[in-house]
């Protein structure tokens, strides 16, 4: 930060009344309305209210504020704010237009790459979305599991080769952030989608040390055993799960598992 700005801000700390840090969007808009009634040409207030309008789904008002801020001060970079607005309002191609402009100036800003991936994804520009997800996940290898899943799910929509790429991406995620049931559980489903029940079984088995003592794990394993023609083992697994369910404290989720177990047993005959 520039020293002059630091000094100014330090001065402000002595003079300025306190600002609110906890604002619900609707209430902050009411306050910003009041401020803008006094200072209608304050770009910062317009940008802030624009962001609040974006979060509350008031797209036209958001765009009006952001664009007016730009008119008043042409040096303000409004591209990221506009991209967010268009993304949330469903105008995904417009979002892409603006996020690309933002990335030209700030190519290393990961949240912008993430927004590009999501915008392209939502705009059904699959190739661009996959490239953007790749750019983002390359920059952020320790990304959130939800980001790996979102990217993998998009790959999976692109046919047989996409399933393989989705699995590769999940494996890459597992290598980067560790084995998790979220990622491996989805990979297990993908293996089933490409008719590879043994691989699906193996993937699920890899979670045994994490989930292995639970009825939920055992019931899913029984389903996979059935798919790999091991009905006898499946029955044993289901018996094991039933015995455990009888021991454990009953919850709505375990009651639902009980019903699922019954249904699988019926299927087995």
């Amino acid at each position: 930060m520039r020293p002059i700005l630091q000094i100014m801000l330090a001065l402000i700390s002595l003079y300025l009344p306190v600002l609110s840090a906890h604002q619900g969007d609707h209430s902050s808009i009411a306050e910003l309305d009041a401020l803008l009634a006094i200072s209608p040409d304050a770009p910062s207030l317009l940008m802030t209210r624009g962001a609040a309008y974006t979060r509350t789904g008031q797209w036209d008002k958001a765009e009006q504020d952001i664009r007016r801020a730009k008119q008043i001060d042409t040096h303000i970079n409004v591209e990221f704010a506009l991209a967010q607005l268009y993304f949330h309002s469903g105008a995904f191609n417009n979002a892409l237009l603006h996020i690309n402009q933002y990335i030209e100036i700030n190519p290393e800003y990961a949240p912008a790459l993430l927004l590009k991936a999501r915008s392209a994804h939502a705009a059904k520009q699959t190739k661009l979305a996959l490239q953007s997800w790749n750019d983002y996940l390359t920059m952020e290898p320790l990304a959130h599991p939800g980001d790996y899943l979102a990217a993998a799910k998009l790959h999976a929509l692109t046919g047989a080769s996409g399933l393989k790429k989705a699995l590769d991406l999940i494996d890459q995620g597992i290598e980067n952030i560790g084995l998790t049931a979220q990622l491996q559980g989805y990979a297990m489903q993908l293996e089933l989608d490409r008719n590879q029940p043994t691989r699906a079984y193996n993937r699920w088995r890899s979670l045994e040390h994490q989930l292995g003592t639970t009825p939920k794990y055992k019931i899913t394993l029984a389903q996979l055993l059935i798919l790999t023609n091991r009905a006898g083992e499946a029955r044993l697994m289901l018996e094991d799960a039933r015995a455990q369910l009888l021991q454990l404290r009953k919850t709505p989720a375990r009651e639902a598992l009980d019903l699922k177990l019954l249904s699988i047993e019926k299927q087995l005959g």
Binding site: L19, S20, Q23, I38, P43, H144, G146, L211, L246, P252
Partner: protein, 541 residues
């Protein structure tokens, strides 16, 4: 209303919200070091005198067989053992970002270990901690004793150039210590849980030092700290032009933009920005400071991220969710929910405790769970999971007051849809049960299912909001007529000072005692007095 009046309201609106005041602590000297965090930086602490104890000494991930000791300072090794006067085992430190740490392993369960830093002088201070019991077992004292702090980080909060809440967090701590000595037989803590906003206002490394490490110094080197991310852990948000509020001499040169702490809307921890001049080089201080179990290191299903995690401690399973970042993005929120389901499905311990910052039910000053999206999302997406998967108690902060729900199931809408007759456990009189004395909460309902949860908002460990009625059109920095009147929360006797219909405007913290058959949660004020409690009786099949 005149324009002047409006300006005053707006300014007072901002001014009165004490939670935000530290945005004016802008740029003390330490922020010049932003790009290069140093080791021993503190707003308030001095170099320790006397016995050589490192700065910022704290424990992480204490399990039944291991523990992490972290610190800053010159010391490069830890000596430890099971006898105070025989620290014969030694472990060298690793450097992790701007902390040193050792991982002690091969420890015995439920055992007191002593440790110290030899070699730097003749005098030595010896610290100690207890390892966790084996999974499922109780600590040897028969009880898992847990302290919870919500929004305690006010020591670094400034207004008009002064620390506006100096001493309040310490008062709350002293209240707990007094309670613990007088009413809990000085029982050692097993866990310290943080409910977010534990370092105001931007959650910088230096604010963590001043608001947390310098205050709880003597506690956190003997008990493991387990945090969750609050809005004040996530830096600054949108910029404001100061000159709109106050005509300073500098305003002649043009707008003066400042950035407020606590209002970031990013879902990406790498976008953490402490000052408003772009993302900080070292990312989110919260994640740099704490070592959290993303890979199921202490039980619990691996989450793949330190933003949310779970672990076991003896007979208690604890989940820390991320209501600040992951909750903002639908893909990340879905992944967190799926993980939570897997984690809770795998849990078979006596008690399940969930913590996160944004309360699903609150009518706190400035924080209304009918209005704030983070709170709505936590309620709609996660509360059904808590109830279906046997979560016993949920704790949040964010609102600077205390609210505690009835024993509820199925209320996931706005507050005006709450129906106590069908959504709360009723007593013999047909009223919602308090969970006290003759009507303790049974973990299992009449059908034998565990499907009810108590939700507590405990965000007054650093300050308590006061009644300040809103002017016409004012929503922030004031109290609305329904302040602390969320019907899902238990009722209080409004005649008492600080008591409102459904909550308490009183500074304090929460203590949980989880035994084999009972879990009791108490709200303790700064004097050590208990203002609320409830007990759940464990159910067995």
């Amino acid at each position: 209303m005149s324009k002047q009046h409006l300006v005053l309201i707006v300014i007072s609106t901002y001014c009165l919200v004490a939670s935000c005041t530290h945005s004016q602590s802008i740029i003390p000297a330490w922020q010049e070091q932003k790009e290069q965090p140093t080791t021993e930086t503190s707003v308030t602490s001095e170099e320790p005198k006397g016995p050589k104890v490192p700065n910022r000494l704290f424990l992480q991930q204490v399990s039944s067989s291991s523990a992490i000791i972290k610190w800053r300072g010159d010391q490069n090794e830890v000596w430890y053992g099971t006898k105070r006067n025989d620290l014969s085992a030694r472990k060298s430190a690793e450097q992790e970002r701007n902390h040193k740490l050792v991982v002690l392993d091969d420890l015995k369960p439920d055992t007191r270990y002593y440790y110290g830093f030899k070699g730097n002088g003749s005098r030595e201070t010896v610290m100690s901690f207890n390892t966790a019991p084996r999974k499922g077992a109780l600590p040897s004292d028969g009880n898992t004793h847990i302290w919870l702090l919500g929004d305690s980080g006010t020591a670094t909060e400034k207004s008009l150039g002064h620390y506006s809440h100096a001493g309040k967090a310490i008062d709350v701590m002293n209240g707990f210590l007094k309670y613990n000595q007088a009413q809990a037989n000085s029982e050692p803590l097993d866990l310290l849980l943080l409910l977010g906003d534990n370092a105001y206002v931007e959650g910088t490394d230096e604010q963590w030092q001043g608001a947390f490490f310098d205050i709880y110094t003597d506690i956190i080197h003997s008990v493991s700290t387990w945090p969750t991310i609050g809005n004040h852990e996530m830096g600054v948000g949108a910029p404001f032009d100061v000159c709109l509020f106050r005509k300073l001499p500098a305003c002649d040169a043009g707008p003066l933009m400042i950035h407020m702490g606590g209002i970031s809307t990013s879902a990406d921890p790498d976008s953490y920005d402490s000052t408003g001049d772009g993302p900080d080089a070292y990312g989110l201080p919260y994640l740099n400071i704490f070592s959290l179990p993303s890979r199921g290191e202490l039980g619990g299903v691996p989450s793949g991220t330190e933003q949310y995690y779970a672990f076991d401690y003896g007979n208690v399973h604890i989940v820390s969710l991320d209501s600040q970042l992951s909750n903002r993005d639908k893909d990340q929120r879905a992944a967190m929910r799926d993980w939570l389901i897997d984690d809770l499905s795998a849990n078979q311990l006596d008690w399940t405790i969930v913590i996160f910052h944004h309360p699903p039910y609150s009518k706190g000053s400035n924080h209304d769970s009918d209005r704030e999206q983070n709170e709505i999302d936590m309620r709609q997406t996660f509360a059904p999971v808590f109830e279906d998967y046997g979560v016993d108690v949920v704790y949040s902060g964010h609102a600077h007051s205390y609210e505690r729900s009835w024993y509820v199931n199925g209320h996931h809408g706005m507050s005006d849809t709450f129906d106590p007759a069908t959504q709360a456990l009723l007593n013999v009189k047909g009223e919602p049960s308090m969970g006290q004395q003759g009507e303790l909460y049974p973990q299992l309902d009449s059908s034998g299912a565990d499907k009810r949860t108590v939700y507590t908002v405990a965000g007054s460990s650093g300050k308590a909001d006061r009644q300040s009625p809103c002017a016409e059109g004012q929503f922030q920095g004031c109290t609305l007529p329904n302040w602390l009147e969320h019907p899902v929360h238990r009722t209080f006797d409004e005649a008492k000072p600080g008591y409102r219909k459904n909550g308490l405007a009183i500074k304090g913290s929460v203590v949980i005692d989880a035994g084999r058959n009972e879990l009791t949660s108490r709200f303790i004020d700064e004097h050590g007095d208990v203002h609320d409690y409830f007990t759940i009786i464990r159910g067995t099949r």
